[in-house]
Each structure stands twice: as structure tokens, then as C-alpha cells.
Amino acid sequence: MTPTRKRRLIAVGLVLLAVAAAATLTVFALGKYQTYLYSPSEVLAGKAPAGASFRLGGVVLEHSLQRAPDSLKVAFVVTDRFHELPVEYTGILPDLFREGQSIVATGRLDHGRFVAREVLAKHDETYMPKEVADAIAKAKAAQAHSAR
Amino acid sequence: MAEFLRMHGYAGYVWSAYAVFVVVLLADALAPLLARRQTLAALRGRLRREAARGARTGNPS
């Protein structure tokens, strides 16, 4: 390698190193402050901004969904399997909203209840046909049954 | 067939996503074809002009 090429290689390498270092620091800084969502445990521990709007993430507790008979108002409980938080929402829920599924709700706390103005469904990274999902559910049920 | 096209109610979403893919990639595929054709046409024009000038002055270069 000629000296000029070596010099270029070192110069480019140094700049890249500097940029990588800056980016790493930014990522770490963001990791501390940029929180897309808070879990019910974090909210109950007082980590979520009080009186301000934030995002709540968690699983819709099974058998907790209640729909108002005459309006689009719904109430359900969001859990992270450690703590639970009741949520109120008025509007159309996304297709993937169902009990036992993860959601992300945007809104604010009001006397211990989370009043959401938007509810988004989070889907997981698993894809399978319906009959496979049914078979897995059946196998799980059978296992639970035999364990009992 | 009609049920396939309807995608169980998701037709608008599924087909528009596939349409975006096809249209954008088609545009991407045509771009270099047109660019090369343009360059070749410009080059032919230039060579022709040079040849004509060379013939007029009787000094082919």
C-alpha cells in the first residue's frame, strides 16, 4: 500500500471511529431519556410524567374488557403481569385488539385510571396459520389438563 | 377468485402495498434504461456534428 493510500485509510478510519463513538453515546443517552412507553409497574411507581400525556404499554388482562352498550366507550385492565392499571377509552379499537394481546395506549392518568385518547395494538413477531395456532392451544390445554 | 381479490376485507391495504412496490421498482428499472439511451443519443449527435464539421473544412480529425 502506498503512503498516500495509507494516509487516506487512516484519515477515513479516524473519522468513522469518531462518528461511531458519537453515535454510541447518543444511543446510550437516548436509551435513558427516550421512553416510548411506560409499563403499569412504572406508572404505579410514579415514573410516568404526572399530569402530562404519556404512552402506557402492556397486555390487556383476560376477561377485563367491558363495552358500554350504547356508545363506543370501553374499559379494560392493562397488566405487565406484576401490576395492573384500569384504562378507559372511547373510540374504535384496532383489529388486533383483544384480551391477552399487547397494546400501547396514549393518554393521561386521572385519579388512578388511565384515560386513553388513542389505543394501538402491538403485534408480536410470530406468524402462523390459524390451524397451527389452534393445535398449539389444544396441546397446551391437554398438557394443563394432564398436569392437573 | 373474487374472495382472493377481496383478501377478507383487507383488499385495499394489501393490493395498494403491492402496487406501491411494483410501481416504484418499475420506475427504478426504467431510469437507467432511459439515461443510457439519452447519453447514447447525445453522443451520436455530437459525433455526427464533428464529422460534418470535419467534412466542411476538409480536415477530418
Binding site: L16, G31, Q34, T35, L120, T126 | S16, V20, R36, L43
Partner: protein
């Protein structure tokens, strides 16, 4: 080994590359089209609907290959940019600059199809989570590279400046990839894993892999086509290009 090095050196010569690319292009386009059609058929017709999302999950077959290509094209661009900066190889400059618009196109399709997918599944067209935001930053990086390349008059200087910007932007690639791990995002985690188990049924996976292959082949076809066109414009004064065009102008001489 020696022959491979020799071939690489030959490939670096513009007239050889021009002929080489011209010979391979139709085959690459045909292969991409054929495998793309098989993948689309597999994804739209053969693959069963998802147990949660139903048929809207079929957007995966355009969204995910494009997302992979948006990263791959950037890595290819940056790699060639690095070679261009250190060794000043003309062809590497052209290859780097040729991948920018293709990568931008894939990134654009990724963002749009993701948005179309997000509406029925998540319930929103867009959210500012780490994955979506970093992918949007990628699109702007591509725009920056293309813009810088076009802003500078001297073509070779322009390519080197743009290659430098491309190289700096590489830090965004791991951020995009790990965004779903490092932060809480609305976007779900990785489904297909090169090492370890993929979380997708085999009947749903194969069309995705076929389409990933098709988009890679298409990418190389498009890069070769664009590089070929750029080479012609850059070397328009050279003898080999004149010889290429000459047969058509020959009759004028009589």
C-alpha cells in the same frame, strides 16, 4: 486466487465492465422477475392467512424484503464508498452512487408499505417509535447522499464527497437493526433469525426467502444498469465509447 485478482483488475477497466454488465443484465432481470413472480404467488396464494392478522399479514412479503434491501443497499453503497475514498477507484465511485437511488426506492417502499400495514393492525399510519424513526432517517441519509452528489459540479469529486457522507451514515444501520431490542417500540421484534429459530411457520417463510433472493438479484441488476449508464456519460470522450457509437454514424462518412 491469482486469476480472481486478475479478473477483478480487468473488471475495473471501464470498457470491460461495460460489456460484462451488458452481457449479464438481461439474465439478472429475468431471474429477478421469475423468482419475484414465484415469491408473490407463494405469498399471496399458497401461504395460509395469519391466525391473528388474517390476510393483512401478506403485506409482509413486500415490506420485509424491501426493509432488508434498504439496509443491504446502504451497506453496499458505504462499502464501495470506502474503496472509492481510499483507493480512488472510478468504478467503486460509480457503484456507490448507483446504489443510492435504488436504496432510497427500497426505503421509500418499506416506509409506505409499513404505514399501509400499520393502519389495520396497529391502528395508526405512523408513530414516532425508534424503528420507524431510524428507518425514516435512513431515507433522509439516502436523499443527502444523492443531493450532495448532484450539488457538486466535478463528477468524481462529487462522488467522493457523497461517499464520505454515506460512510458516516453507516452508524444508522445497527441502530435500525437493534432499535426493537434497545428500546420499547410499537414495531415488533425480529421474526426471521439467521442464527436460531425463526418465529414464522415454514409455509409462510419460504415465499419470504424467495422474495428476499429476488430483490437481491434485482438490486444487482439495477446497480449494474445504473453504473453502465453512468460510465457511458463519464467516459463519453474516450475512444472506447466513440467506437461503441461509431457504427451508427459510419454511413455519414460514406
Amino acid at each position: 486466487m491469482n486469476r480472481l485478482v486478475l479478473w477483478f483488475h480487468r473488471l475495473g477497466s471501464p470498457p470491460y465492465f461495460y460489456r460484462f454488465a451488458g452481457r449479464w443484465l438481461p439474465w439478472l432481470y429475468a431471474l429477478a422477475l421469475l423468482t419475484g413472480a414465484i415469491g408473490f404467488y407463494g405469498g399471496l396464494v399458497i401461504a395460509p392467512a395469519d391466525y391473528q392478522q388474517g390476510d393483512s399479514f401478506r403485506i409482509l412479503y413486500v415490506h420485509v424484503p424491501c426493509a432488508w434491501m434498504s439496509l443491504f443497499a446502504y451497506a453496499f453503497m458505504a462499502g464501495n464508498g470506502f474503496v472509492a475514498l481510499v483507493w480512488r477507484i472510478k468504478l467503486a465511485e460509480l457503484l456507490a452512487m448507483a446504489s443510492a437511488p435504488i436504496g432510497a426506492a427500497f426505503t421509500f417502499v418499506t416506509l409506505v408499505t409499513g404505514s399501509i400495514w400499520g393502519k389495520p393492525t396497529w391502528g395508526t399510519w405512523w408513530t414516532w417509535d425508534a424503528r420507524l424513526t431510524s428507518e425514516l432517517v435512513l431515507l433522509f441519509l439516502y436523499f443527502g447522499v444523492i443531493g450532495l452528489h448532484q450539488a457538486i459540479e466535478d463528477l468524481r469529486q462529487a462522488a467522493r464527497a457523497a461517499a464520505f457522507l454515506a460512510l458516516v451514515g453507516v452508524v444508522n444501520l445497527p441502530i435500525i437493526h437493534y432499535s426493537v431490542v434497545w428500546w420499547n417500540t410499537l414495531h415488533q421484534a425480529q421474526t426471521v433469525n439467521l442464527l436460531g429459530e425463526s418465529k414464522i411457520d415454514a409455509r409462510m417463510l419460504w415465499p419470504l426467502l424467495v422474495l428476499a433472493f429476488a430483490t437481491h438479484v434485482y438490486f444487482f441488476a439495477s446497480v449494474l444498469a445504473r453504473t453502465r449508464a453512468a460510465l457511458l456519460a463519464l467516459e463519453s470522450g474516450k475512444a472506447w465509447v466513440r467506437a461503441l457509437v461509431a457504427p451508427a454514424t459510419e454511413p455519414a462518412h460514406g
